[in-house]
Structure formats: C-alpha cells, structure tokens
Symmetry: C2
Subunit: 300 residues, 2 copies
C-alpha cells in the first residue's frame, strides 16, 4: 500500500495494492501446498473446457502457469463442443468420485446447448474451487461458507487490508450480478456490515453511494462513479473491468470508477488494473488449496 | 383488505389481510391438485419427524389437516431420535428416488447430533417444499428461483397485494436471519427493489427504516418498530412472532411492530397475527404443488 500525492496537494486516497496482496496469497498457497505434500498429498485441479477455442485455451494455459508456480498440479480436459449434458455430468461425477482430484472448475462460456448453472450444480461443493455451485452460494447465505466465489472473496480481502472495520459499516454495492454484486453483498453481510445493493433500477444512486463507508462497484461501465458519488474518506473497491479506446486510438483497461477524481476524495481505493483482478486470480488458487484440505479431511 | 379509522380521524394505514390471501392461495392449490388428479397424478408430501415430541407431533397433525383440505396426501414418517446422519440420508435418498413422493420436508429442530443444513442439502431441490436446500437458496441468488423459502415468498405476496411497485422501490429489511431476513432481501432484489439489509450491528436503524418505501421487519423483538421508524405512507410487513404476557397476566401474540402507532403513519401494514403467518402456512402448500408439477415434469 502506498500513499500518493496529487498536483493540488490535497489529501489523496491510499491505493490498496491488489498485485502485492496477490503475491502474498500465492506465497501462502505455496506454503500450504508444501505442507500437504509433506503428508504425501498432492493438490490437483482439473479444469474442464467444453469446445476448443483459442481464447479458452489461452486462458487455461495461463491458469496452468499460475497453478504450477505454487505447486498445484493442473490438468486441462478439453471435451468436444458437441458434448451433451449427460456426457458432461458423467465426467463431473467421475471427477467428484476421484480422490486424487481436489478441485474442479468449468470454463465458461459453455456451448449454448448446455446450462451452466445446472452443470455447476453437479460439482461436489467441496471440490467447487470457483464457489459457483448454487449450494455453495446457499451456504454463504446460511452463514457457514464452505467455498465462496473468488471475486467476492477478493473484495473482502482488499477491504480488510485497509484496517477499516466492516462490522456496523455502511456498505453499498453497485451492480447486482450473480457472479459479483450479489455474492459480494452476502459476504459483506456475513461480516456484519449494513449492506445496500444497488442496480439498474435504483432511483437515486448517488444518495446511496454517498452514505457508504465502503463502496463496491461492479457494473462494467467506465466513469460510472465520480467524486460526487463518494463520501469523504470512504473505502472504494472497483470491480469493473472495461477495455476502452483512447482518443489517440490506444486501448486501456479501466474500471467503473473515475480514478483521478475519486482519489482526491476517498480514503482508500482499489484501482483497476492492479486491484481486484490479480487478487481474484490468486483466490482461485487459495480456493483450490482449501478444496484440497476439505477433500482430504473427508476422504483421508 | 380493509381501511380502518382511528380516534383522531387521521388517515390510517390499510391492513393487508394475510388470512384472506391464505384462503385464496389454498383455493388456487386445491384447483391445481384437482388438475393433476385429473391427469392421474396424486400430490404427496412426506414429512420427516426425527424423534417424537408432543409439540412436533401436534404441528405435524395440523399440517396434515391443512394438506388434506386441499387434496394433498400427507404422510408423516416418525424416525427414532437416535437416527444417525447416515440413516436419515438413506431415508431422504429413497424419498428422492420415489416418483410417488412429490414433496419432502424435514421437521426442525433435529436432535443435536444431526446437522440440519447438511440434511436439508440431501433433499432433491425439486422436492424441497420448504425451499431450504442451500442449492435452492443459491438458485434464488442466481435469479432463477426453483422453490424459495415459504416466509420470504409470503412477504413478496403481501407486498404485491398493495399494488405498490417493487421495481426501484427503497426496501429495507430488518433482521438478517438465514430463514427470514436474508431470503427476503434476495427475493426483493429479484423484484428489482433497492434493498438494505439491517441487523444487530446496524448503527442508525431509524435512519434506514425511514428511507423505506417498503419496510420488512423480521427480528423477534416486540415494539422494535414505532411510528418514528416509518416513512409516511410506507408498506410495513411484520414478520416477527412474539408471545407476550400482558399486565393482567393474559398472553398475546404480537409482532415486532407497534401496530397502533405505525397504523397512523404507514400506508399499508401486514399485522401480527393475521399477516405473514397464515400466508407462510399456505405457501408450503403452494410449494408442494409446485414441487409436484416440477417432479412430474421431470419424471412424467
């Protein structure tokens, strides 16, 4: 975490350094992998890719590198694009039963004839490293989280790095997607924040966001949140990832928060890039080691 | 729904009549049961009671009466109090497989050696008439609800009776329990309300509740919500059920809302008794017919 100045010498928000935290998480995972290996137990993640696409394959190769760096064995199984629900269910069932497989993930999008949620539901909750099985979401609601979605876990970690207490805090989440906003709001409630979940139908968004001690934005709309949306000193976590084209034609990755403007008002900002993104990637590794520990606890 | 006056001739809230709505739901269920019977399909609810207690048995007998009045066949299976997790799982698995069983419910509390959520997770989501399988909660988060918890569904129904639109409404839920507040907030989000979930750690409760177009209170604390907590004209749904002793020693069932005071300020009130309670009971019947239709759709 670094404090940066600005041209007007106003107090500036501190940056929450997701890249540094991701490195810390990877080291933690590497240590836990070593501990399991010392007991003769390998950590093995099987990823399923239905239908070869260059993008899917490239993503999987990056995942392989990330896993191998921390000692997790990564296996990619590419299934034919024509695989039907029954066929994919059979593959998932065999991985569920296989005690050498500690984690299972399913690359999305699936071909359109397959229902992603129905397939994710087949993954044994203790092997569901993405935390996307509806049962795992349900366990979050029930307050005994087994494995939660990576992005939501990343957001909580980044807030905790600031030292701002979540219990009793006013937390406002903008964006009610299944993969980000809703699980984030559930985990914030689990931390005893008072959570307001805003979305496209919210009437007066700035009135809500200005109340927030902790503001999490997960919409996918560049510049959505400016200084007027933010309470002085607030913690702002930007979950948006948008590719924009600058006037000179170059491309740039930005979040949903107008970073320059908000830095002058907020207390802490998790920026894009360098905030939630790298922590989410590292969280998949952490969920994988957690799955391995859960699986070994039940079978070993 | 009736409009009632008060001694000061102030405008008074209208009562949302849960008892009348429950009767409507029961008639709807009876009609759908008839339709299934006309196709040769019976609707059969199996309730599991682990360990005989007079209270559990009495509750089950009331359920039997409610089911039989609408043509649902009710079967109570009482298992020994010493039944272990493996034994109960085996019973649930056999009911899941039995095509003649359309719905399954598990009476709580279970004996302390059994984990309720772990057992509820065993119930096939399409037969889970209480909507308590974590997977069914997860499906609510994912926005394609299969069967939701009865109390939460009752709250949504009662709000809809008022005609007040939920899309874009400020909704505040007080109480973040697994069985009531959290599922209610999820269903309100599904209806596109802007939802704030308050609880024991909330710093300034009245500031939140006074913002609410729709206020849902599910805490279990008599008198928690007075007129000062309520916005003029708001819809107030009282989910609390409390038995209190009056100064003269008689007992009375009240909610969390100071009904007399709030009636003078709110636009609509769902009272206790006569509001959420009877609708929740009827909702179990509605979920049972829904389960029967889902089960028959998949096996028939």
């Amino acid at each position: 975490m670094t404090s940066i100045g600005n041209e007007n010498d106003q107090p500036a928000a501190r940056i929450i350094d997701g890249t540094a935290h991701a490195a810390t998480l990877r080291q933690e995972v590497a240590d836990r992998v070593e501990q399991l290996k010392a007991k003769g137990r390998a950590v093995h993640l099987t990823a399923l890719l239905v239908g070869y696409t260059p993008a899917g394959d490239m993503y999987a190769q990056r995942q392989r590198e990330a896993c191998e760096k921390v000692g997790i064995h990564y296996e990619l199984r590419t299934l034919p694009a024509a695989t039907d629900a029954k066929g994919l269910s059979a593959v998932i069932a065999s991985l569920n039963r296989d005690p050498s497989v500690s984690g299972i993930m399913l690359h999305l999008p699936l071909p359109s004839h397959l229902d992603a949620t129905a397939m994710q539901y087949q993954i044994d909750p203790v092997k569901d490293v993405e935390g996307v099985n509806p049962a795992n979401i349900g366990y979050v609601v029930y307050g005994h989280t087994l494995i939660a979605p990576c992005t939501a876990l990343a957001v909580i970690d980044l807030i905790k790095l600031t030292g701002v207490p979540l219990r009793g805090a006013e937390a406002v989440v903008v964006g009610a997607s299944e993969i980000a906003g809703k699980p984030i709001s559930l985990l914030l409630t689990e931390q005893m924040a008072t959570v307001t979940l805003c979305h496209i139908a919210t009437r007066d968004l700035p009135a809500h966001t200005r109340r927030a001690d902790v503001l999490v934005v997960a919409v996918g709309k560049p510049g959505l949140i400016g200084a007027d949306h933010v309470r002085e000193g607030a913690v702002v976590i930007d979950v948006g990832i948008n590719r924009i084209t600058l006037p000179d034609g170059t491309k740039k990755t930005v979040g949903d928060v107008d970073l320059d403007a908000v830095m002058k008002k907020a207390g802490w900002v998790s920026p894009v890039p360098g905030g939630v993104g790298p922590v989410t990637v590292a969280m998949l590794l952490k969920n994988t080691i957690r799955a391995a520990e859960l699986t070994h606890a039940s079978v070993g």
